[in-house]
């Protein structure tokens, strides 16, 4: 919240006396300079630091409460932390800086909370029911799932193996996905692939502000007890699936799996 601190202090010397007087009268509030209105404004301390302070950070006078707007859509506290760029979420999944940019861009563009929610719509968390499981994930993902609009690129943009399985249930197959890959080698333990070069075309970039930008090679393996297929990212230096598979568990190259399920 460095940006917000800058807005609160230091204040011009000429204003200090006035500010001290205001503080005495209004405990639990802060005096903030609103750049848009070019004036000092008295704001609830808590609301400033957790909610409407974002407007002041953007140099704007608050138009609505972004937190109240997000709450209207059923976002939890943890989800709001992700959406406002404070938290990377479980597994450190989201890029905080990128999410903050998206959030601030929506605030700057929107004149009403409805417009704000419309701009944030693809990123808002929603329930997706598949089989016996309810997933909590971004609306953009849910809509693609329901419309069966996923492409193999979406598969590679997704970090979570569980969500990759959802993508495979929604219109594309592991064969479609593997068509984007080039086989390096296969053995009794799996298949090792690299992403096919596509001329000057950019590799798929993350669909949501995920962390990172490097494309790994992929190890294709099938779970012996569930039959579930996996594509796991592995370093590009491996040439044998067996070696890459041992790397995924940090094992010696000679390690032997005596029992697997």
């Amino acid at each position: 919240m460095e940006d917000l601190k800058e807005l609160v202090s230091p204040l011009p010397k000429s204003e200090v006396k006035k500010v001290k007087s205001l503080f005495a009268l209004h405990k639990g509030r802060v005096v903030v300079r609103c750049k848009e209105c070019d004036q000092l404004e008295l704001v609830d301390d808590r609301a400033f630091h957790t909610n409407i302070g974002h407007w002041y950070a953007l140099g704007l006078h608050p138009r609505f409460s972004p937190v109240a707007a997000l709450k209207m859509t059923g976002q939890t506290r943890a989800e709001m932390s992700i959406l406002t760029g404070y938290s990377a979420g479980g597994n450190n999944r989201y890029k905080v800086e990128e999410m903050r940019k998206i959030f601030y861009s929506a605030l700057k563009t929107a004149r009403t909370k409805e417009e704000f929610l419309s701009l944030m719509h693809p990123y808002l968390f929603a329930d997706l029911v598949s089989g016996d499981t309810t997933y909590r994930l971004e609306t953009g993902f849910k809509e693609k799932y329901e419309k069966r609009e996923f492409t193999p690129d979406d598969f590679f943009k997704e970090d979570s193996q569980e969500l990759r399985r959802l993508i495979l249930r929604s219109g594309i197959s592991i064969k479609d996905v593997k068509s984007r890959l080039e086989l390096i080698d296969k053995d009794e333990e799996g298949e090792l692939y690299r992403m096919k070069a596509k001329g000057n075309e950019e590799p798929p970039s993350p669909r949501f502000p995920f962390r990172g930008d490097r494309e790994p090679n992929y190890l294709y393996v099938v779970c012996p007890s569930t039959g579930q297929e996996y594509l796991l990212g592995v370093p590009q230096n491996f040439t044998k699936p067996k070696d890459a598979r041992r790397w995924t568990f940090g094992l010696e190259p000679t390690a032997e799996f005596v029992k697997e399920a």
């Binding site: 779970c223 007890s225 094992l251």
Partner: protein, 100 residues
């Protein structure tokens, strides 16, 4: 001699000579819960004890222990000491545990 490893889904159980002295009893049977509720756990009837140090878990089993999971078949570990290792992969940002 090569490492002999047991595996259930995204977990490997690697026999070790010793469990670190400072490891503390974890007081739970749950080894790992996936993002969507799949649980790897020590079989209920077993007397095996799980230990933890610096985020790494270990199993001490004097009579052998079954590792159970809702989707994967049971894996029986012979009596001994094991380090539990979570499968990792290379994501676009670097190495991370498999998110399953």
């Amino acid at each position: 001699m090569s490492q002999k490893v047991y595996r259930q889904g995204d977990l490997a159980f690697i026999p070790v000579t010793d469990i670190p002295k400072d490891a503390k009893a974890a007081n739970t049977r749950v080894i790992r819960t996936g993002e969507n509720g799949g649980v790897h756990a020590l079989e209920e009837k077993s007397s095996a004890v799980m230990y933890e140090m610096n985020g790494v878990r270990y199993i001490l089993s004097e009579d052998g222990v079954g590792i159970v999971h809702g989707e994967h078949k049971k894996v029986d570990l012979p009596a001994g000491k094991y380090e539990i290792r979570v499968q990792r992969e290379l994501g676009q940002e670097g190495v991370r545990d498999v998110i399953d």
